[in-house]
Symmetry: D2
Subunit: 344 residues, 4 copies
Amino acid sequence: MIKVGIVGGTGYTGVELLRILANHPQVKVEVITSRSEEGVHVADMFPNLRGRYDLRYSIPSVEVLASCDVVFFATPHGVAMSMAPELLERGVKVIDLGADFRIRDLEVWSQWYGMEHTAPDLAAQAVYGLPEINREQIQNAQLIACPGCYPTATQLGYFPLLENKLIDHRRLIADCKSGVSGGGRGAKVGMLMCETSESMMAYGVPGHRHLPEIKQGLADVAERPVHLTFVPHLTPMIRGIHATLYGVLKDPVDHDLQAMFEARYANEPFVDVMPAGSHPQTRSAKGSNMCRISVHRPQNDDTVVVLSVIDNLVKGAAGQAVQNMNIMFDLAETSGLETVALMP
Amino acid sequence: MIKVGIVGGTGYTGVELLRILANHPQVKVEVITSRSEEGVHVADMFPNLRGRYDLRYSIPSVEVLASCDVVFFATPHGVAMSMAPELLERGVKVIDLGADFRIRDLEVWSQWYGMEHTAPDLAAQAVYGLPEINREQIQNAQLIACPGCYPTATQLGYFPLLENKLIDHRRLIADCKSGVSGGGRGAKVGMLMCETSESMMAYGVPGHRHLPEIKQGLADVAERPVHLTFVPHLTPMIRGIHATLYGVLKDPVDHDLQAMFEARYANEPFVDVMPAGSHPQTRSAKGSNMCRISVHRPQNDDTVVVLSVIDNLVKGAAGQAVQNMNIMFDLAETSGLETVALMP
Amino acid sequence: MIKVGIVGGTGYTGVELLRILANHPQVKVEVITSRSEEGVHVADMFPNLRGRYDLRYSIPSVEVLASCDVVFFATPHGVAMSMAPELLERGVKVIDLGADFRIRDLEVWSQWYGMEHTAPDLAAQAVYGLPEINREQIQNAQLIACPGCYPTATQLGYFPLLENKLIDHRRLIADCKSGVSGGGRGAKVGMLMCETSESMMAYGVPGHRHLPEIKQGLADVAERPVHLTFVPHLTPMIRGIHATLYGVLKDPVDHDLQAMFEARYANEPFVDVMPAGSHPQTRSAKGSNMCRISVHRPQNDDTVVVLSVIDNLVKGAAGQAVQNMNIMFDLAETSGLETVALMP
Amino acid sequence: MIKVGIVGGTGYTGVELLRILANHPQVKVEVITSRSEEGVHVADMFPNLRGRYDLRYSIPSVEVLASCDVVFFATPHGVAMSMAPELLERGVKVIDLGADFRIRDLEVWSQWYGMEHTAPDLAAQAVYGLPEINREQIQNAQLIACPGCYPTATQLGYFPLLENKLIDHRRLIADCKSGVSGGGRGAKVGMLMCETSESMMAYGVPGHRHLPEIKQGLADVAERPVHLTFVPHLTPMIRGIHATLYGVLKDPVDHDLQAMFEARYANEPFVDVMPAGSHPQTRSAKGSNMCRISVHRPQNDDTVVVLSVIDNLVKGAAGQAVQNMNIMFDLAETSGLETVALMP
């Protein structure tokens, strides 16, 4: 059994890791940390886990975590980069669900995250954990930077178009809608049910931390810097991201976009290209690691519209982290991730 | 008291007219029709109206409706155009909340609505009831085509930019999110709570009936045909439309967009330009006739993002219809429409 | 115009007072206080109020509040009893939406609210502001203790049965369901949308602060102490209380319960006895000051079931407070309270 | 592999069977029927199943179903009793998720279900599939009547109290709250999101079909007829039942109710007695087969309050059906049912 540690186990990505790993046949969670909940049983925090774990929160300690084969960081930015170096030195693999190692240009990182990066060497080694573009590097990685939720949905939607140089890299618009679990489990007035339910709003229009991450990923496949307008919206549901992606065809001739998308993802276990004309619902991915995508060209005009949906806590966080772990440890990539989405 | 008739009083726009008119000081609803609910008291259908009306549904009859000063049609397309001619002849003013008179090009109308137009003369006379652009014509109109919900939010958001010729008319993208009440009160599996709650989806990407209506309105102010990509989304909330509107500045110099928007709507009682940097929530308009707008230029790049929110049943339907009536009968434009949005 | 002050204007009952009073024709809100938001415009906190008030939060000061004719306290317990004495001395009427003056037995009060009562004389004078039982005393009151939300729905449902001595006063069960706005606007993890949406739970089963208040009110009409089991539930909606009330008929002969309920509330503007066989929905009261009630006797057995619904923020708080004010100032009791519930 | 057939595969219990069985290691779904969707791929109806099944709806046929080892009926009442006889004759085991075989007294059955029972012999043989009371009979059963959702939550909550003769069998009150998926997937106005969201209502107070079923089950363990008042409520969430159960202690001395409940369910894999003082949330069971229970005695008075929560589609329907199948086929009782509830 692979010994797993989780740093930061009281937030939504932490409990989601516990939910997924509870049914993973090759894994045992040995350590879970929380400064505020030391000594508390995980099932007392999260009753859905009753009977599934005999595990209490402990204070994060490199000593203890070093006994694990792999440590997940489900923490705010800044935590992973402070603890990862020592763990890696001791031969522990590290998968960061936070933002510390997602952006290669550390000046850009500092500008968006408001602090100095304290582990620049690791940032250079870290592999961006999006299997659909980096599977081989992930296999040999010691340190994974798990993509953000918006970046996952957005990149998977844009890849076929940009890889094939079909759309103008200067005219990208990602209009994204996220459920409120993306806002985390912190006690904030703005995330109360009274404030978020029965309402829709954009936020972060002047700039959101996922913008540079998405641009980096798209630039890599476009092989040039891209212009992207990214507008996230807070949507009155718990889980799910719906990315509506716009691109302008450089050459508005006839393209078989459907075939191109299907070919691109034919061997991907967690990307499902829907039939032509489909409109995927976020709930078709709820609780599962699937990304469902459809591609449209309205009125056969020069604008392409891609619809890409994921569960932000699964393919957008904990599920993708486990997918990375499976690849790193040479397990079946779908191990522990066979859950069917909950519908209705 | 102005005598009001309502044709089609069992849907959500019908009951919303009743809710608004219950507190309108210069109006009395005399007739309300429904083929299926003949004889039923309105308060037995809609208990929120108990004690407010002494009114039963009757079979629609021109004879009876002709005793009214104004008749609202809250009906599917096709109904208003069949009854309006006779009512207008008898001197009754007509306000159609449906789609029969919204589009001037009747070939386009037929193509999107799948039937022949049976009152082409009236279509030519009808005034498009968006007071923010047509107030003077509305004052003297006999027949009003009330705008659709998406078209209201979208046009109000784009007007200042297009009137000032600031953005490229060939690169318009309207990514719109609507609450489920926009889908009506019909018994459809797809609108069950189990199907729509806790999920987000786009629909009608290949083409939606509001597309030609929006294009017509934007073309009028742009003074040339526009290219528009319009993607509506079904959002898990009852009321509200959030339009996220994208435009590309023709000349990316410094513009005081905030001042331009504030000036454009300075005298409008139902358009509220929010302070710079704002992100309006749909709930800030819930139950009220307000449209709240903010304008952004992310990273000072060449893309402008306008956020425009309304309550689809009020400013997007029944409230706007009453606003039109107020203008037509020379009442205070806000009469009956002073409701403050319900928050939380 | 009656000059109004509001102490504690940033919570949900505070903003609800502002919403209601915005359209009250005989009232002007002159002062609103908040320690944390001093200087902030009310419309910057609550955008639904934009254009309706020219009012900023100020630090609470008896000096300033004394210029008002009436002061509402929308505060946690303990605040009103500290400021009310001086205000009353200066001739200002006080309406407390909190719990300070609801319970006559101050030992009981202290036990449930965990502090000493500092104004016992006032507690003795305060009138319990439930107009349906205390209208005359309210007319001459200087100090009103506005009932809690659960107590309002529960007492109105039980009154006809207990006044007529029909049910066993030792076997009362009130199973109540409240929307999450009852939990207030404080930043608490347990009130996040992710924690409360899509779930139902009971809380406070061992004891809830509204229990002694309900028992006091029911004992008054029963003319003896009552046994009551009260179980509140947190329901995944923003507004609304649904009280399901059980009683055991002392004499299980034929009773015309429907007629008894209708007669009891025939002249009440804000209690609506629904037709026999009805099941009122909380949404039929949403945003309005109505309490809707139906009474059932399933299978003609000896158990009576009363269903009583209100909007917890209106009839359960701010609306009832305004109703009290109207009575105290000899205004039409419905002034400012004519809003029709928002449906859908 | 056990060959499974499902009759009635387009409703919510049908698709839930497919979701659960997709990950059941010893089972293969061979046939699924639907008259209206013949020929349609299950994944085209329910995209969460894409990639998990190669299965199309077929017209129900005993011929075809007879090739299965077990057939589940996820159908309205009346269907199972017409097809079960022939299937049983051919040696196929039958598990009815509907109501045809739940009630032993067929006169009572006819009265509540409005039709004659056409298979009275089978009704006499059928085993009521509540493993926590009937495990042994289930092992040898050929025909299982799966309990209703309310009856499951209610009986599991009352069993320990009634088996121990602690509470008065004449004074039972079950106040139950169900998510809207209990209302099925039919196109009904009353189940639209606009009608059910943001509202709470009781329904069926004069009488609900689950009443006689619950009474039968409680009478069995009480060993005498019981008086029960049962009030179901429609709750604005998709999944979940919260049963709040009231009983009156016959002898109000000190009882260790907590220990009694824990002992009763110590060996039950799907009943979780929560720690003393707990208030289970329905979401702690969402998507899982768990029933979570807590027991309270407020103010140490003579009333006991039991809180019992399940997912109505799992332990209240499809999950319980699979649990029955596991027992009948001597599989591990938890096989396919290890899913952890989705939180948040």
